[in-house]
């Protein structure tokens, strides 16, 4: 009889382990960038294509970097949360538009010139922000996703909290929910801005 308790106990432990495993989010891979300097970039600004912006321009400020794209379905779900955020606080929210054209999948990039890609990307990003509201202080354009690689982007949308010294303090992968924003990001921002 004793032995059956062992088997039953082992089975229960296995079920518990699997249940915990199922509850975890496999996409939530801890980023090694947390605690490190935000990787440098110098990208064209959507609203003023003759100017560029990089993390060094944001030194001394606590800011958010939000990776988005018009083809990204989850970004649409996240967008109202960001619009709401931008109305409530004056923490600068910088948009990083990630592979606006070539990430879409609907274009044959071998037939498109760099000039055409740029024009189309700016046009699509502007249209999207006009339609859905623009929560961003500025949006910069990462046409080929090269900056995205430096930031370890693997699923849009992603959001980074960067402090006054330019250190990444938090990364959130996937759409921001009011819960994550209110209970995790807002307290962090308040603390960093002290």
């Amino acid at each position: 009889m004793n032995r059956y308790y062992w088997i039953l106990g082992g089975f229960a432990a296995l079920v518990a382990l699997l249940a915990i495993g199922l509850g975890l989010n496999p996409r939530d891979v801890p980023s090694p960038l947390v605690g490190k300097s935000a990787p440098a970039f110098d990208l064209t600004i959507l609203a003023t294509p003759d100017k560029t912006l990089g993390p060094k321009d944001m030194q001394g400020k606590v800011w958010l970097l939000n990776v988005w794209s018009s083809w990204c379905v989850s970004c649409r779900a996240e967008h109202p949360v960001l619009v709401d955020f931008s109305k409530k606080t004056d923490v600068p929210l910088i948009g990083l538009n990630y592979k606006e054209v070539r990430g879409d999948g609907g274009f044959d990039m071998s037939k498109m010139s760099a000039e055409d890609e740029k024009k189309l990307a700016f046009q699509r990003a502007n249209t999207w922000l006009t339609q859905h509201g623009d929560p961003y202080k500025l949006t910069v354009m990462d046409l080929d996703g090269r900056v995205g690689i430096d930031y370890g982007v693997y699923g849009v949308p992603e959001t980074y909290v960067i402090d006054k010294a330019g250190i990444i303090r938090m990364k959130h992968t996937g759409p921001l929910s009011p819960d994550v924003l209110g209970n995790k990001i807002m307290p962090l921002l308040a603390e960093l801005n002290k």
């Binding site: 090694p32 960038l33 690689i149 370890g152 699923g155």
Partner: protein, 161 residues
């Protein structure tokens, strides 16, 4: 068509489909001219996990990110970077999770040690079972003359009823 030949055909088609997919991903890699560099690219991208599909390496995956990362690796090979520098580049951005062979350290101890621990536990249980069984068998000595006589008597008693 009966069910047997139908299922055979389906299996065959699946197999053909998968080999075609492999072929297409390798032709892309074969574009670059340098065979040594291509071999290194192939080797490196087999060691790295695609974070979009998670259970594929970036050599097998056709996800956008995997293509970008292969392009990135190719660039680094052409720039003369060593394999270690390239792997470090990936780990700095995506963490240990990007490695199919995670390094042995505190957090991966269970991952590396787990199978060995389970094997040892299994051996321990097996040995204990065998020893107990040997003891039980040692107890099973043949009946003495007196015991045999008593058993016979009991059996006979049962028969007469």
């Amino acid at each position: 068509m009966n069910i047997r030949s139908l299922s055979l055909a389906l299996i065959f088609a699946t197999f053909l489909g998968s080999t075609a997919a492999i072929a297409s991903s390798t032709t892309e890699a074969a574009i670059a001219a340098d065979p040594v560099a291509e071999k290194r690219l192939q080797h490196l991208s087999e060691e790295l996990r695609c974070l979009v599909c998670q259970n594929q390496n970036i050599a097998d995956s056709n996800a956008e990110l995997a293509q970008d990362l292969r392009r990135e690796i190719r660039g680094m090979i052409q720039a003369g970077k060593s394999d270690k520098e390239i792997i470090d580049f990936m780990v700095a951005r995506y963490g240990d999770f990007v490695l199919y062979r995670p390094p042995v350290k505190g957090i991966t101890l269970l991952l590396w040690g787990g199978p060995v621990a389970l094997l040892l536990l299994g051996l321990f249980v097996l040995l204990r079972y065998l020893r107990r069984r040997a003891m039980r068998m040692a107890d099973d000595r043949p009946l003495s003359a007196a015991e045999a006589g008593r058993a016979d008597a009991l059996l006979r008693e049962g028969d007469t009823k």
